[in-house]
Each structure stands twice: as structure tokens, then as C-alpha cells.
Symmetry: none
Subunit: 253 residues, 2 copies
Amino acid sequence: MPATGKAKTRRQRVEAREGAILRSAAELFARHEVDAVTMGAIARRAGVAEGTVYLYFESKVALVHAVVEAFYSGLTEQAAAGVRKIRDTRRRLEFLAEHHVTRLIEQRYILFAFPGKSLSEPDGEAYRLNRTYVAVFDDVIREGVDRGEIRDDVPLWVLRDMFYGSLEYAARTSLLGGKQRDRRDGRRAVRGLMAVLERGVIRPKSDETVELARSSTMEGITARLESVADRLELVEARTGTARSRASRRAPGK
Amino acid sequence: MPATGKAKTRRQRVEAREGAILRSAAELFARHEVDAVTMGAIARRAGVAEGTVYLYFESKVALVHAVVEAFYSGLTEQAAAGVRKIRDTRRRLEFLAEHHVTRLIEQRYILFAFPGKSLSEPDGEAYRLNRTYVAVFDDVIREGVDRGEIRDDVPLWVLRDMFYGSLEYAARTSLLGGKQRDRRDGRRAVRGLMAVLERGVIRPKSDETVELARSSTMEGITARLESVADRLELVEARTGTARSRASRRAPGK
DNA sequence: TGGCATTTCTGAGTCAACCTCATAGGCTGA
DNA sequence: TCAGCCTATGAGGTTGACTCAGAAATGCCA
């Protein structure tokens, strides 16, 4: 099945074919390990001969790169668009976190399909891609610092590594847990991350008793509320209640 | 050169050879990408024939597993030993963090040499290994919670993912930065992580009055509560009336 | 020590997958 | 319609993981 419809100009034809090969590869990578997907299989699914693939992509590695690039490209665009619609720094971070972890669990193969190669070359393609992606996060933080919403005594790169490192590790362990996990894991990871970013986890040694009392009361309420929310999500999942992302946000203003 | 010295018993001979092959592989993986290291090269360096390697390790993948296993085994032992010598929870975490990031930057190849395979199989070897490793961390946290040094309103697994996720991402970006990085990066990452764990990064709305911070927290909780209430009503309505339209799933496959 | 049985080792050969290249096919413009 | 050029093809080269029949070493016993 030549997935290429009717393309008129040369450029269109080229792009259609390139797209068909890319899509074919992405679909196969989503189903099988990269090593287990042969160039022959990719070519067959794209409706071209094996040799043709090499007219569009220099090698298998290059093809994998291209697939990953396409993924990150979309990811960056969506992240930037989402941030533009939100003002509050806290909410922005929450959105970025949820977006990242959701997309990563959806397209799980990106996490594993990643051959060490793609990352092991400094200043390589993948590195550059990642940089432009996290630039969205960097801007959010910088603006937050300017506004006084974010402390400025932790280096930006440390924050960035914490943020994405946490989420990716969470996505990974969620997927590895054996049983099928879903987006609820991701959401819980996001909530935990945000909580820690807001107030840490290590309790102050002592003193500041008033502050402690106040916050611990609030903590109690928050913890209880979170537990209720968790249970609610469970019920929702069971009954298949659809819920738009917007309705999770309260009245706001 | 048969790296095997003089071994007397059968068992000793077997272990010597297995060790030689493992060491040979680890040394080569440290220098080149896993894919670029051939079984022939590993055999040659170990002083045996290619076929012999297959008497000790079922396949190349199994050999890579064994190398990684050896690494994690040592890592776990050192981590446990270090923790035993420290009492304070904060110090323990700091030690674990520094130990992890240091060893990871030293043996950088573990980060990249890791074929997706090793992780992609749920309940696989690598997963089990990782579990026993992070168990050290888990124990530290649990004891910290018991002692009241760690807040108990963030799930343990979220904390774990944050901790190791941050450090691994930091190690990775440190290595990828292009220019040669050293352990100072790691130490800075550890310091940043500890700072955030201690007090978070997101400032309360207004840092002058507790009152304001408190009310804004109240707003957040109220908003969340309202959202939960809304959803609860929805679920009640749906399950209360009839369970006719049970599935209204989002864009499925 | 010599001879036989068993275990261990060997490396040439098989197979599979990436990649190449000589040839075939089709599009474009006169 | 046809020459010229660009694109596509798939059989074949090359490489590297893995196998296996035979060689070598080791153990055992008299």
C-alpha cells in the first residue's frame, strides 16, 4: 500500500514519502524495541523498498533521531502554547509537569527506544533538541524569579534537572511497575513534585513553633483533601467519568 | 594472555574466567558504546575464544546485564554501609545523593550503555536490582518519618523518584554539557536538591505577612475542594441515575 | 604412568540485518 | 514522442551475534 496519496509537486512527493517513512518507523517503535524493528519492516510498512529509506535517512540511527526529533518538536510547541495561556508561575509549572509526564507515558517508547547513542554525543542533535524544549521551563522560572514568586538561591539548571528528572523517573517506574499503570500515577507524581517545590519535605529542626503549628494544621487539611481526591479519581476511573482538564481547576477567576 | 592465573579447583577456574570476561566487557563498555563493542573484542581481551564467552553468558544482552548488575551490587553495598555510619536523616540523604551522583559520573557508561532492553521488561533483572538499591533510601525515609524529621504527606515513591530522578538527570546533563565536567557539578546538584527538599523553591505569595501566605493557601485548598465537590456531584449523578452510559472514554485507539 | 571418559574450549561457519550500487522506471520539457 | 535526469529498487556485500563439530584439557582409575 503506497501510503503516498496523490502529490503534485516534487517537494510534496518528497515530503509525503519522508512522512510515510517517519510515521511507519514511529508506529513500529511504539510496538517493538528499536533493535527489534528492521529497516525492511519499516520500508514495507511505508510502502517503499528498503533501499529507498536510505535515500531519505542516512542510517537507522539517523531515522531514530528524526523520530525523536519529531516527538520533541511537538512537545515543545504544546508546552510553549500552554504556558502562554497561564499567568501564575505555580500553575505554569503544574501544567508543564503534567504535560510532560502525560505525553511521556503516552509515548512511552521514547523513554526506552532511546539508544544511548542519541544522548552520548555531546552537542549532538538530541542534546540541542532537549535544550530548546527545556527553554520553555527556563523562561517560566526566570519570569517567576523576576516576579518574586520563585526563590533565586537555587541555580536554574539544578531546578531544571530536578523538575524533569523527577518526572521522567516517575514515568519510568510507573511503566516498569509491571501492572498496567495509567495517567493517575503521573498526576500523583506531579502533585507530589509540586508539594515539595512549594514547601520541601524536611522539617525544620525546631523553634518557630507558631509557624509549625499553623502549617501542620494546613498540612493536615491538605493531606486529607488529597486523599479524598485520590479516592475520587479511583471512582471516576472505574465509572469512566470523562472530565475535561479545565474543570479540574476551580473557579479561579 | 590467559588472564587466569593459577586456579586450583574447578569452581575457582570457572569464577576466574567469568570474572575475566566481565572485567573485559566492563572496561570496553567504559571506553566505547555497547553496540560498538563486539563479542570478539571482549573475548580477545579476556584471553578466550569467542565461543567461550557464550559458555559463561547466554548472549550479549545477558553479559551487559551482568556488568550492570555488578555495578549496582557494589553501589548498594556502599550505600548501605555509608548510611549505617550516620544518624541524622538529613545527613544520610546528603550522603546517599552524593554517593549516587559521584559513582554515576565516574562510571558514566552505565547511564548510556544501558540499552532500553534492560529496563523495558517489567519485573526484569534490572528492575529488581534497582529495587534493592533504592530500598536503602526507602529505609532512611521511613525512619525519618518515624522520628518526625520527614513530612509524611508525600508518598514515598514520589520522593524516591524525585531524589534519584533529579540526580540522574543532573549527572546526565553534566556529562552532556560538552566541556569536561567534574564532580563539582555533582556536588552542586546535591546541594540544590537538599535545599529544595528542605524548604521548597516556590515562595508564598507575600513573604512579609504570614496572614497573606495563609489566606492564599486557603484559596488553593478552597478551590481544590470546590473542584472535588463538583466532580463528586458528577459521579453521583452518573452512578445514581443509571449506569447506562458507562463508557465515555476519551479519544481511544 | 597410561588409557579412557568427561568436561571445557575453540574458531570456522551460519544467519540476520544494515547498508550499497548497478540497473530499471518514471517524470519533465522541448 | 523522446532524450535526459532524477528517483526507486532489491539483490548482494559486509559485519557481527551466535552455533557446533571436533580438539584439547582434565579427571579418574588401575
